[in-house]
């Protein structure tokens, strides 16, 4: 095996940043005004999709510290109580870290089924923390609709994510 040139090494390192950069883009997508009818409160949890995918396939490229900082940015940009998303997504990630090998080599439907199991949990925990934080019962309906929309949109994002993933591991 010949030694990798500087260019090749940088290239591999940049490819390794893909999960972080993609999740960052998802954070920005959540913050953007889409101006769609009644969309803002139920904007799909784009970030959750990215974290789910990368936690299963490349947890080494999306360490806890990265999830934490991306979620903090999400909270700062969207005006969510600071630390809420960080807490919820760290919990999501630690659960996935124990279960991730189960999904390896499984057909897509199984991975999607897994996502449809964790998303209601994410919504429930978020709702409980938000209600505690505001010391009031936050209307639960937007949380439920958001979870359903996120689950329905997941296959679309999975296509993009797996294409990126293939591109990332090419040459490695």
């Amino acid at each position: 095996m010949r030694a990798a040139t500087w260019f090749e090494r940088t290239d591999i390192q940049l490819r390794g940043l893909t999960p972080f950069v993609f999740t960052l883009l998802m954070v920005l997508a959540s913050a953007l005004p889409w101006h769609l009818p009644s969309f803002a409160p139920v904007t799909p949890a784009f970030t959750a999709m990215a974290i789910y995918y990368w936690s299963i396939y490349r947890p080494d490229k999306l360490p806890y510290a990265a999830t934490f900082s991306l979620a903090m940015l999400l909270d700062l940009l969207t005006g969510t109580p600071l630390g809420l998303s960080a807490l919820v997504y760290l919990l999501l990630q630690v659960i996935l870290n124990t279960q991730r090998t189960f999904f390896h080599g499984k057909p897509f439907l199984v991975v999607w089924w897994g996502f449809s199991l964790v998303m209601p949990g994410v919504a429930l925990v978020s709702w409980i923390i938000a209600s505690l934080y505001f010391n009031a019962l936050v209307p639960p309906m937007p949380f439920i609709i958001q979870a359903v929309l996120t689950i329905l949109l997941y296959p679309l994002f999975a296509v993009v994510l797996s294409a990126l993933h293939r591109h990332m591991i090419k040459d490695q």
Partner: protein, 293 residues
């Protein structure tokens, strides 16, 4: 050599997972601490939000253009579908508005004369800044938007934000080039209002649903569906008489309000700089003890 490396790996792998676990516990602790801190000392977080908002403004401005054009495409298709019905409705409305225009001109002339007779102290003129909405609270937690104008454009915490339809909310934090507006539907929004027809005062309280409710109404208050709600100007932050919405439902326990603002088309908002004469600007007021600026 090989055996050594094997042993090192044997040691390194558990060590790595130990570090990961340690990092997890540390970060979860940090998230909880920050949440409690931000609840107890909102001021600390306000500054951070302002700074992050400022830093993200150019990126969000850039990205919000395609998002807006996507939305306008959806809107255009929507509009093209019922153009005839819309036209008929607008013609009817136009005829009615022309009639009202004549009435308004006459009333405003009369109002002017009466004011002169009575030597009414004029309300201070509000100066204003119009800015674009560059970020939305994409999620179920809060109802806020970020605009691309901040302290540099005279946007300050507490000011009222309106559109041509009516009151939108108020500025809750301002960075140099960006500011966050708490919409009047947010759980934390409280706005002093008055029912136009009966002059009943109340507080419009948001609860994250599209219809905020009227609180602190008098027990015998006369409020009916269809009554107009405007700001009362109490507290001196908001100018009085800004249109807010109409009463959409009244029951034994509560009265709900349908705001005039169309939240789906919130692209630009106008921030009013309204200071009552005799009120010192915030920077010149004496701060509370232990209060930092």
């Amino acid at each position: 050599m090989r055996a050594y490396r094997g042993r090192a790996l044997l040691l390194a792998l558990p060590l790595k997972s130990l570090i990961q676990r340690f990092a997890f516990v540390l970060l979860v602790g940090a998230a909880i601490t920050i949440m409690i801190l931000s609840r107890a000392e909102p001021r600390l977080v306000d500054n951070l939000r302002g700074a992050v908002g400022d830093a993200a403004t150019p990126i969000l401005e850039f990205l919000s253009h395609p998002a807006a054009s996507f939305a306008s495409l959806v809107e255009q298709v929507d509009a093209a579908l019922d153009v005839h019905a819309e036209n008929a409705r607008l013609e009817a409305q136009n005829a009615q508005l022309l009639k009202w225009q004549a009435v308004a001109a006459q009333i405003s002339r009369e109002n002017e004369e009466l004011r002169q007779f009575l030597h009414v102290v004029p309300d201070p003129n509000a100066s204003f800044t119009t800015a674009r909405v560059i970020s939305d609270s994409g999620g179920p937690f809060v109802r806020t938007v970020l605009i691309n104008a901040g302290k540099k454009n005279n946007v300050r915490k507490g000011q009222a934000a309106i559109t041509n339809e009516g009151l939108t909310g108020r500025v809750v934090s301002a960075g140099q080039h960006s500011a966050r507006i708490l919409l009047l539907t947010d759980l934390n929004s409280r706005i002093p209002v008055v029912v136009v027809s009966s002059r009943e005062r109340a507080v419009l309280a948001g609860d994250n649903t599209p219809n905020p409710r009227l609180e602190f109404l008098a027990v015998d208050a006369r409020v009916h569906v269809g009554n107009r709600i405007v700001t009362s100007g109490q507290g001196g932050i908001f100018p009085p008489g800004l249109p807010v919405g109409i009463v959409s439902s009244v029951s034994e326990e509560r009265a709900l309000v349908q705001p005039y603002v169309n939240w789906d088309r919130l692209e630009y908002v106008t921030v009013l700089d309204y200071t009552l004469p005799g009120f010192l600007p915030e920077t010149k007021r004496a701060g509370r003890i232990g209060e930092f600026r």
